[in-house]
Every structure is written in structure tokens, then in C-alpha cells.
């Protein structure tokens, strides 16, 4: 198994991981690992099957692509790359549905929207959470209303 792919906050304890997320697809395998969004992704096609692919060479950004309709894709990233203090509290019901037993079970990433030619907005309020043992995935709407749906980041200088 590659390096840990991010962390989730379970029961108030954060497992810190500042490494960029490693790609889910294993170059040694003949098929890319598919994530299963049993409840789909709100607003998108009801499709359940998605794959994650590297967008940038250093693994900082990836694309989440719908298997049934590859024209549906989202740019995603690990929130901790830009918000190191991000501490999402995953509601118990979501932990149960995803069958998350430990924080290390979880891969966390969030959508990236271009706000301007040099600005991006991360959805910190509703991250995607994947159980890396089962590949079950879900977009989790967090209860903390202070977390923005659009957290802007701009390039320095």
C-alpha cells in the first residue's frame, strides 16, 4: 500500500498527514481502483462509480472522473495542503455508513473550483471521504457551519 492518503478527524483526534495524496490507481494493476459512491454525488449524475487520477505531476491535484460518463469530472485536492489546521469532524452516521474503523481508513479530498485566473476555491464544508479498505466513498456535509463551501486560495507573488 502506498503512503497514507490524508486523514480524517474521528472523535476529536486528528491524524496529521501533510504529505500530498498518492494516486489511487496502482500502476502495477491492470485496472484502476474504482471508488463507489453509493449515494452518488449531490447535483451530479446519480452514477456511483468514479476513479481518481493524478492531475499534476507532484500529486497535489487530482481529478475525480465518473466511470459511466467520463465527461463528468471534478478537480480535487487534499485540503491540508492549503489549510494545515483543517480538522473535519466526520459525523457518526457518515463514519458508520462508510464503515470507518480508524482515522487511517479514510482518504479525504475536496473539490476545487476556479474563481479567477489565479484563484481557486476549496469546498471545506463538504469533503469527499473514502474508506480506502472498501473504496466506499461519500461526500460528507460537515456540521461546522463556519467551514466555507468556498475557501479561496491564491498564488503568492
Amino acid at each position: 500500500m502506498n503512503a497514507p492518503l490524508g486523514s480524517a478527524l474521528v472523535e476529536g483526534h486528528r491524524v496529521a498527514n501533510a504529505d500530498p495524496p498518492a494516486p489511487i490507481d496502482n500502476p502495477d494493476a491492470s485496472s484502476v481502483r474504482e471508488l463507489r459512491f453509493d449515494d452518488g454525488i449531490p447535483g451530479l449524475t446519480g452514477a456511483a462509480r468514479y476513479v481518481l487520477q493524478d492531475l499534476t505531476d507532484d500529486g497535489t491535484f487530482q481529478t475525480l472522473i465518473c466511470v459511466e460518463d467520463p465527461s463528468v469530472s471534478l478537480v480535487v485536492t487534499s485540503p491540508w495542503l492549503f489549510f494545515p489546521d483543517y480538522a473535519p469532524q466526520v459525523p457518526e452516521v457518515d463514519r458508520e455508513v462508510l464503515d470507518l474503523e480508524t482515522p487511517e481508513d479514510a482518504i479525504v479530498f475536496c473539490t476545487v473550483v476556479a474563481e479567477d485566473t489565479d484563484e481557486l476555491a476549496l469546498n471545506l464544508r463538504a469533503p469527499f471521504i473514502v474508506n480506502q479498505r472498501t473504496l466506499s466513498a461519500r461526500q460528507v456535509l460537515l456540521e461546522d457551519e463556519d467551514l466555507p463551501l468556498r475557501a479561496t486560495v491564491t498564488a503568492e507573488g
Binding site: 453509493d38 449515494d39 454525488i41 449531490p42 447535483g43 451530479l44 492531475l55 499534476t56 505531476d57 507532484d58 497535489t60 491535484f61 481529478t63 463528468v72 469530472s73 471534478l74 478537480v75 495542503l81 492549503f82 489549510f83 452516521v93 458508520e96 455508513v97 473539490t111 476545487v112 473550483v113 476556479a114 479567477d116 485566473t117 489565479d118 484563484e119 481557486l120 469546498n123 464544508r125 463538504a126 461526500q139 456535509l141 466555507p148 463551501l149 468556498r150 475557501a151 479561496t152 486560495v153 491564491t154 498564488a155 503568492e156 507573488g157
Partner: protein, 84 residues
């Protein structure tokens, strides 16, 4: 829209598995209790709508996001800061 009138403590059953109950009424606020299987997602409507809008923007703008991301030099990414 189906509209039903309920009193404090009364309930509505949706489908076979979801029960909605008026738990408390205070002025113009109503506290609503929801009993549903764990896989049924329950959210405030306006928050859900915002989430749908954001996901849709992400999907429809993914090409633009790709271009913007590619424009960031690699060493700048870790120095990006929250500009709220």
C-alpha cells in the same frame, strides 16, 4: 407540494421508513425530529442547494480549474494561503 397540518408532538411518515415529528414550536421556529435509516441523508434545504451549486460549478468548470491549477508553479502550491 403536499402540505399537512400537525400539532406539537404529531408526526408524518414518508415512505415506509422515514418519520418526521414536530418536536417543539417556539414563535416562528419549529424543531423537527427526523427518524430515518442511516443511509438516508438529511440536510437543511438551503445548505443542500448550496452544495449542489458548488458541485455543479466544480463539474462544469473542471476544464477551467485544470488550466488554473496548471498555471501555478509547483513550488508555489504549498505557499498558497487562504484569502478570505
Amino acid at each position: 407540494m403536499l402540505v399537512l397540518t400537525r400539532r406539537l408532538g404529531e408526526s408524518i411518515r414518508i415512505g415506509h421508513d422515514v418519520v418526521v415529528t414536530v418536536v417543539d414550536v417556539r414563535g416562528d421556529q419549529v424543531r423537527i425530529g427526523i427518524d430515518a435509516p442511516r443511509e438516508v441523508v438529511v440536510n437543511r434545504q438551503e445548505v443542500y442547494e448550496e452544495l449542489v451549486a458548488q458541485n455543479t460549478a466544480a463539474a462544469e468548470g473542471s476544464d477551467q480549474a485544470r488550466r488554473v491549477v496548471a498555471r501555478f508553479p509547483a513550488n508555489a502550491r504549498r505557499r498558497l494561503k487562504d484569502d478570505r
